[in-house]
Symmetry: C2
Subunit: 452 residues, 2 copies
Amino acid sequence: MIAETLIENAAVVTVDPRTGVLENGFVAVSEGVITALGSGAAAAAGVAGRLRLDAEGGIVIPGLVNCHTHLPMVLFRGLADDMALQDWLSGFIFPAEQRHINRSSVRAATRLACAEMLLSGTTTCCDGYFFEDEVADVLADCGLRAVAGQGVIDFPAPGVPDARRNVAHGADFLDRGERAGGRVQPSLFCHAPYTCASRTIRAAKAAADRRGAWLQIHVAETRGEKAQVREAGGLSPVAYLDRLGVLDGRTLLVHCVWADERDVAIIAASGAAVAHCPQSNMKLASGVAPLPDFLSAGIPTGLGTDGCASNNDLDMFAEMDTAAKLHKVFRKDPTVADAAAILRMATLGGAEALGMAERVGSLTVGKAADLVVLHARRPHLVPVYDPVSLVVYSAGAGDVRHVMVGGELRVREGRLVDVDLEGVMAEAAPFADRIRRDLLSGGKEASAAERD
Amino acid sequence: MIAETLIENAAVVTVDPRTGVLENGFVAVSEGVITALGSGAAAAAGVAGRLRLDAEGGIVIPGLVNCHTHLPMVLFRGLADDMALQDWLSGFIFPAEQRHINRSSVRAATRLACAEMLLSGTTTCCDGYFFEDEVADVLADCGLRAVAGQGVIDFPAPGVPDARRNVAHGADFLDRGERAGGRVQPSLFCHAPYTCASRTIRAAKAAADRRGAWLQIHVAETRGEKAQVREAGGLSPVAYLDRLGVLDGRTLLVHCVWADERDVAIIAASGAAVAHCPQSNMKLASGVAPLPDFLSAGIPTGLGTDGCASNNDLDMFAEMDTAAKLHKVFRKDPTVADAAAILRMATLGGAEALGMAERVGSLTVGKAADLVVLHARRPHLVPVYDPVSLVVYSAGAGDVRHVMVGGELRVREGRLVDVDLEGVMAEAAPFADRIRRDLLSGGKEASAAERD
């Protein structure tokens, strides 16, 4: 067999329970799909390749799945940190969104975010924001795999000035369908129970259902939200969504920090999935989600960075490292959230949460060739006793060498393939300059006139 | 003025409260010392340089100070993770130390650790281990600034088979004095109150005092230790050390996870310093140290990675990011441990804790030129609203471009200067192979005969 691409001399961390880790292994790729993998030399298995990539002993992992983010918020990276939530939102994030998020800025910002994701080993993301047509177009253009969720909120929002049209606007987005041959799937992203009325959430779910699309929603993120929802109707936020009838196998619940034992049982019974965002939850002091309970209840659970305003990057390696350590100290048990469970969450778990596990999430013959090759010969990556431990606890975004999505090399030797990275950064810069002048100099430069 | 080296076109984060951040700034270095810095073009300030480094808009920070580590334990990186403390120690760490730590392995491992530190922006470290003469020699040879602590423990230890000689052995190490013109200072590292008798700790402190050396000691790391010390004598571990009379301005208390309000007051009154190691404390599920209390009490506090067996790297960027986020969620307050406080802890705070603040820790005219230049043109490092936020929350070890210690460029364009990195890794590999065969294959290959 002659594959299009053959990656050799690698520790292949398949995240496939039947295969495990293949020492000194190879991965063969043709027509976008993994066609063979094994231990030892590919030649001994009768496998050759037209393009041969020598991993030089490096580790190959499935492409990382960032299960929750708001890509255009890369424009707000480091704009305001270390503040109380309300000051941060009302002083910076909401004004920045109102005055600086438009069709052009979303497009430029998403391009920047795609560059960051690919260079740090993320091949799939689940986004939720506004002007999502632009986000989805750029994701398709940049070669990522994605679920792109048009934002739904009961307030005037970027691109949706009339909140009464929010679900209709989202349904129109869904009607425009998938992009890039299904690589980018449309979805709806209801902001949260405290910003969307019950009829909005129900209508959004119905619109998504009609098109087989996912509904994403922030839920149980803060203690305050839990109290507010309970005060309004006597139910926890999760139980409230369950009462609305919107929890099922095509619902992605984001955060679930304040999910209690009953909530976990509700989620598990419903078939809904969870996106866990530990760094964002830490930075905003929201709390620590009961991740070990999600996993033991069998809930499909993915890992997410959240938007760059609250993290402040799209780095899934840092997110894995933090997740593994946070739950140990929070549960006072060094055995929870072990490296294998965390890597699984960042790959196959995320794929399950997004309904893509048949296609991606593990290195398995027949699945799409979404994979990352890490550098090997670096002092912080030796010795190699356990490749999975190295990936979670020692490797960083800076160690990504090659990245492939659907068999296409998008990063080679640490550089984006066929992308003018300086141009991508230059395109985003004027938008950041305007935000800086407006919000960090006390001025109010930007106006509705700058909107698209 | 013509400087030996001139770094231009940089956001200079001085960590000097009088200077703050210099936008579009420069740093001039001659004879190992910072001779000028400012905003704008160096030429306009009458400063030229023989070697000119264009930072291209990147950020310059003081060299990072890793305030607590056990360098030779890089050999145990990823050997065993996600285990209960006693299983980890008795099944892996203690056997590995007994059978595989010798003069040769310590030398090879420390060389590997120095490569990792320099490449990730650490210019100063405080080490505590055995065969510390070897560690100190390698640190001096590799160009780092360091406090090197010979281990003292009331059990047979690598290089100190007769525990009755532990303090005398350490005193001999101190007598051999500083290395590299004072760049590497000797110190004693008492393991902990539960592994060293009171007379050992007192004798070690007396030996250190006679030579003006620092005493390092792990203290109040785990809840179990606190209970054990209290049961033995009715005092908290910190109060017990205070009762022994060993707390003063040349004592570095490592961890202090279980320091309560009274302990914090004792430490502050004594003048002793703290080394805070959040990632290690998280991974081993030890707990969360009261960092905000250390800082508000004015205790000199540095940041440390701890050894690679419990982290699993020497990456101070990851340590900063985690520290900033951990205390927010643990205190339920997003305003604590802000980016500036965390960067200060990783630089000037560490220098204060090690008694080096007159020489290093901030970019100040007259201080040693220990500094790091970060890459600028990377998608996860734009936009730049606040360079301090970028350093703590967005930059990673992979973004280190140049590193200077005492005016010597040790890393240039991401590569070690005049070091055969492949050779360094190759030197360590056979020791790791022996550990792997011994501890991961069930054998008992290594023997006393392999000891130096």
